[in-house]
Structure formats: structure tokens, C-alpha cells
Symmetry: C2
Subunit: 375 residues, 2 copies
């Protein structure tokens, strides 16, 4: 076993945050090598947080992995939350605190998030706030979580009036990505994750965008090598940005390309209407459209953007329910608003370049909204 484990060499992407530096491990069958997980557990108590959908698929393997090989002195507790963005609330978070306190998890315990972005965000925020902060490990099981939400330390829950309004920046000890978990992922959720993958190409990585133009069909067919490469490259892009600007003073905001429109769509539809990546996809098309109206990108880049998003079977316009007014009220509560001024991420300066700015002609924003909404 030891020999075998030594031979196992996952791809590693390091998130460089000084004393809080941590590794992202990426490999197929990674859950079959739980020494990686055990290595990052501190203390003797673990609380695994998952949901009703992931529990029957992977929970037993994770728990067994934590306790095998003479790690019997580690006590593992689990809490299973309902599945869905509508449960990403303070009320449901209380179930994690309740379980942690009832099982007397102490300051040296480790919380493990096993699931998609909602579980990662909630478990991470529980870890950030329980006893003012305990250890935390991410095991993301959706493409969205693997390429985006599990990396970079944004954690939190929704408020009835806005997404992720309550939360913390809190970095995990490690992120463990088993690409095989994607085999159980429904198609639409795979596409949703690909929206964020495309985003990295647009905002900072032209060669990756071109790779995606060449390999989108492989990715859609879940070709293992294509998936692994796309996840690794996405994690590298995100890790670079987070290392340079952990608390989102500026650069990190560029990761929100399409999200200002996208969040307005999500809150306009109510949770569970569209997948996050679907809303982001339509939002990226709108951001590209606005960038083009401002004269910041040419027609060709706008078309390449729309085409790639369309090939990923993602929406290229908002749902018909979205009106100009719904967009405006949804965008007014965006976290990037500062001193009353809406700031957006817009494409500028050719493929792979963008800006984060509040300094653009708002009349053009109105034009974009009117172009994409019936009223």
C-alpha cells in the first residue's frame, strides 16, 4: 500500500498565500488515496459536511479514508444538509453549528466540505466562524466547485435580498479534486462549470481560450485528459489572481466577469431557476456586448465569445422574465458597488484582457439591457 501510495502523483497547483499557502491536488481516483486527506487533518476530530445528493455517492469512502490505516484515534462526525442553492442560508448553517457543538468539536477540529459550491461555501463559512475559525478542507465534487468556488477562500451564505451577502475570506488547508466525481454530474451542471472555465480565458488567458475553442467538444464529452487539463489550468489562473489580491482590492474582482448581470438573473429568477454558470454565461455575453458598444472590443471577439459559450450549450441571453428594471434593482445591491457607484468587469484590449471599472458610459449599459430584455 505504501509503495502504491508513493507512486500516486496527482497534479498539484499551489495557492501562494504566504503562511496560508495551500495545495490543490487534482487526479482521477484521488479519493482512493486518502493519505492526502489525512495529511491535512489537524487534531483528532473531523466534521464532514455534505448534502443529500452527494452523501450516497461519496460519504462512506471519505469517512472510511479518514479512519483507516491506524487513524482510529480520529473521530469522524457527519452532517448532511438539504441539496440546493435555496438552502444556502443562515438557518441551514445552524445545522452545522448544532452538530459541531453537540459532538463537541474543539478548536483543533477539521471541517471537510464534500460536495459542490453550496456545500463548500457553507462549510467554509461554518469553519471560518465556528469558535472564530477551525481547520478546513475542500473536496469539491462538481466542475463549478473544482474550477472556481473551492479555490480562493470565498465562503458565505445568501441573504433573502442578495447572494453571498454574509461571509468571510477563509482559506482551506487543502483542496482535493477527484476528477472521477464528475462522472456522476448531470450534463447541465457540467456546462455550468464550463462557463467559469471560459471566463478564465476571456479575462486573462488567451492561449487557454484558444485551447477551449479547439477542445470544447472533448470537454463536453468528458474526455478525462481534457477535463484534467481544463481544471488544472483554471485552478492555476484563479490561484494566480487570488495570490495577488486575496481580499479583492482590485484584480480579484475580474473573476466576476459576467457575474453582475448573472447575479441579477439569479436573484430575479429566485434560487433554483438557473444554474450559476448558466446565469454567468448569459452575463458574460451581456458584458461582452456592453464592451463592444463602448468600443473596447471588436466585433470578432464578441462573436468568438458568443460562439464558444453557445458551443458549451450555455444560454447566450437572459431568460424572458428578466426586465430592464429587474436587472437594475438586482445590480444595485452588487457587492462591487462602492459609494453608490456601480463597477463592472468589462473586456478591453484584446482577447485575455479586461478592466474593472466604474468609469464607463451608463447610457451604453442601458442600451445593452434594452437589447437583451423585451421590456
Amino acid at each position: 500500500m505504501t509503495t502504491f501510495e508513493t507512486a500516486f502523483s496527482p497534479t498539484i497547483v499551489n495557492v501562494e498565500l504566504g503562511t496560508r499557502r495551500y495545495p490543490i491536488y487534482i487526479a482521477p481516483k484521488l479519493l482512493d488515496h486518502p493519505h492526502l486527506l489525512r495529511k491535512h487533518v489537524k487534531g483528532k476530530q473531523v466534521l464532514v459536511v455534505t448534502n443529500t445528493r452527494v452523501e450516497p455517492l461519496y460519504l462512506d469512502r471519505v469517512v472510511a479514508g479518514l479512519t483507516e490505516n491506524g487513524s482510529n484515534d480520529v473521530r469522524v462526525e457527519t452532517v448532511v444538509l438539504p441539496d440546493g442553492e435555496e438552502y444556502k442560508t443562515l438557518e441551514v448553517l445552524m445545522q452545522v453549528y448544532d452538530k459541531a457543538i453537540a459532538t463537541r468539536q474543539d478548536r483543533r477540529c477539521t471541517f471537510v466540505a464534500l460536495g459542490g459550491g453550496v456545500i463548500g461555501d457553507m462549510c467554509g463559512y461554518a469553519a471560518a466562524s465556528y469558535l472564530r475559525g477551525v481547520n478546513f478542507i475542500q473536496i469539491p465534487t462538481t466542475l463549478m466547485a473544482q474550477v472556481d468556488s473551492s479555490v480562493g477562500g470565498k465562503t458565505g451564505v445568501n441573504h433573502p435580498l442578495g447572494k453571498n451577502m454574509i461571509g468571510a475570506f477563509y482559506q482551506p488547508q487543502a483542496v482535493l479534486i477527484d476528477t472521477d466525481t464528475l462522472s456522476t454530474l448531470p450534463d447541465k451542471e457540467l456546462y455550468s462549470g464550463i462557463a467559469e472555465v471560459i471566463k478564465y480565458g476571456l479575462i486573462r488567458d488567451a492561449p487557454f481560450f484558444e485551447w477551449l475553442e479547439e477542445n470544447m467538444e472533448k470537454l463536453m464529452a468528458r474526455d478525462p485528459e481534457a477535463l484534467t487539463y481544463a481544471i488544472k489550468r483554471s485552478c492555476e489562473d484563479k490561484a494566480d489572481v487570488v495570490a495577488a489580491d486575496e481580499k479583492e482590492a482590485g484584480l480579484r474582482a475580474t473573476l466576476n466577469l459576467g457575474h453582475t448581470f448573472g447575479h441579477a438573473i439569479e436573484s430575479g429568477l429566485g434560487y433554483g431557476g438557473w444554474f450559476h454558470g448558466e446565469a454567468v454565461a448569459a452575463g458574460m455575453v451581456m458584458a461582452a456586448d456592453l464592451s463592444h458598444r463602448l468600443g473596447w472590443i471588436d466585433q470578432a471577439l464578441l462573436e468568438r465569445t458568443v460562439n464558444l459559450i453557445e458551443r458549451a450549450k450555455l444560454p447566450i441571453r437572459p431568460p424572458p422574465e428578466m426586465t430592464v428594471e429587474k436587472f437594475k434593482s438586482g445590480m444595485a445591491v452588487d457587492k462591487k458597488v462602492a459609494d453608490g457607484k456601480l463597477r463592472m468587469i468589462l473586456l478591453k484590449g484584446g482577447l485575455g484582457h479586461c478592466v474593472f471599472t466604474g468609469d464607463f458610459d451608463k447610457a451604453k449599459l442601458d442600451e445593452t439591457l434594452r437589447a437583451f430584455c423585451k421590456h
Copy 2:
């Protein structure tokens, strides 16, 4: 006005936390000099969080101070919470989030805590978690908050099963202490604050303990100079400890002398039973008793401790409702428990010295519990 404001020179204690260094201003009539407050407001939106008891006393002055002198472009909103430790919950915290979102507070807004320890802890945690962190200023109006809870960045709320189980380390931009606010403080709350003042002497500041032995009557009579000195010295002691160990890796835990017993008393009585400082006072006597039983301090220091606490009209034993069992179950959920091992702050090595350790004879702890409980 400008000349007058320049002439106003409050005592300043700096909390040395690198880039997050911040000042504590201490002076009578400090609220009459709101330029200090305005200086630390960033952005154009302020949310003042207070409670029903403090609102009629000081809220108008603080709001007026924020907007006078051409600061009309600052928009001030207020939220008034119910008064009492029993309202230090996630449910009540939602009122702060609700107000913040309803009034569209953005990332550059400032939350101001106006009140005692409960308001400071709740407003601070709201500031830590709203949009993953906004600016925060403390205006503590009780002695307890001025000498302890407003300094050092511990924020949070209670869980039904334990105090401060949910929270964050989050430092303010500044702490503004107007010692005149103590004139409206009920006697028992003054005494409660004095418990923490005595604590600093016991754990790290023998000269201050001796000063308290000489000046306790002045302090109890609210002599302004004695109060100012005690507040300044307490803030200095706490600031030193926090600067050396912000996240409570070790040294900072010593600030919890008496708190392990004290928290058990508070949770055993239910919130609102005793003031925090009263529970801590009884807890310090118990900690001193245990230290003596362990042979770590002599009889004389035990007696000096008990005498000083008694002179401050604070309890020197737990309430009769507290049983050995209640203590044990209350202490088992203490945040300082690590890997199942109870760690305590105990006096050792003469006046002004203590240790934080899990390495002591638990039979002696049982003796202490039995000595202070009827059953």
C-alpha cells in the same frame, strides 16, 4: 472650533497589529469631539448599531457628530437592537444584515458599535461578515466594553449551547472611549467591568494590582482620574497581549483567567442571570483556589485576590444553583478545550504571573468544584 479641537488631546493607546494597527482614544467628553470619529469613517455610508437602552442616551449625538461640519455627504443609518445578552443571537444579528442590505450599505461603508459588550461583539461580527468584511468602529459605553470586549477584535454571537461559539477575529479601525458615558452606568455593571480590570493585574501586571489595592474605593466612587487611569492601563495590558498573539495561539488565552468557570456559571444560570464580570469574578476566585491547591500560589496571594474582588462588591463564589455536574458539562464545551483536553489559565509564579495549561492534576479541579458547590 478647529483651534479647540486641536487643543483636545485624548489619551491614546495603540494596538500594534502591523497594517491593521489602530488607536484607542480615551477621554472625558470625547463624544463632543466627533472629528475623531469622522476621521476613521471610510466611504460615505455609516450604519450605527446600538440598543434600546443606549439609544436615548447617546445616539443623537453620535449621528449629529457624523454629519456636522460639512460631512453632509455621509449618509447615516441606524439600527436599534433589543438590550441584553439573551439577544446576542444569529436571529437578532439578522436585523443588522437586513438593515444594511435594505439601506444598500456597500463595501466601503462603516459599521459603528455604540453600546456595551453585546453590541460591540454583534456589530463587530456583522462588520466582519457583511460582504465578507466592512469597516468598523467601536464606541463602548460600559466599563466592561471599554477595558475588555471592545479591544482586540474578538466578535461573535452566542449559540443556545455555548457563549461566543460563532464569531470572527476582526479588528476595528478605531475605539473611542468617552469616560463620561460611565456616569449613566448602573453600579452592578460598573463592578462587572472592574472584574476584568482586576484580571489584568493578576495575570500580568503586579504594579497595577497593587495600584488597585490602593485605589479600589476611588474607582468604586467613579473618580474620573482613577477611572481614566484604570481604563488606560487595562487597554495597554490587553493591547500588548493581543499584539503578541492576535489569534489566541497561546498567550492571549491568559486573558481568560476565571472565564472557564465563569462561562459555565453563565450558561448554567441562563443568560441574564449574572453579569459577565460577576461570573468571571467568582471564576477567578475558583481559579486562584485551584492554583493554591496545586501548590502554584501561596495562601497570601489567594487571600489578596479574594479580598480585592470582595472590595469591588463582586461575588467570590458561584451561585447556589451551580452543581459540580453543571460546572463539568459547561466546561466541556469551553473553546480552550483541545483534542478533548481541558486547558485552563491558572496563577503560578507570584503576583502578575499565570500559565495556560492542560497539564494539571484533575483531582484538584474536582476538589475545587466540590469546595464551591453544595452538590
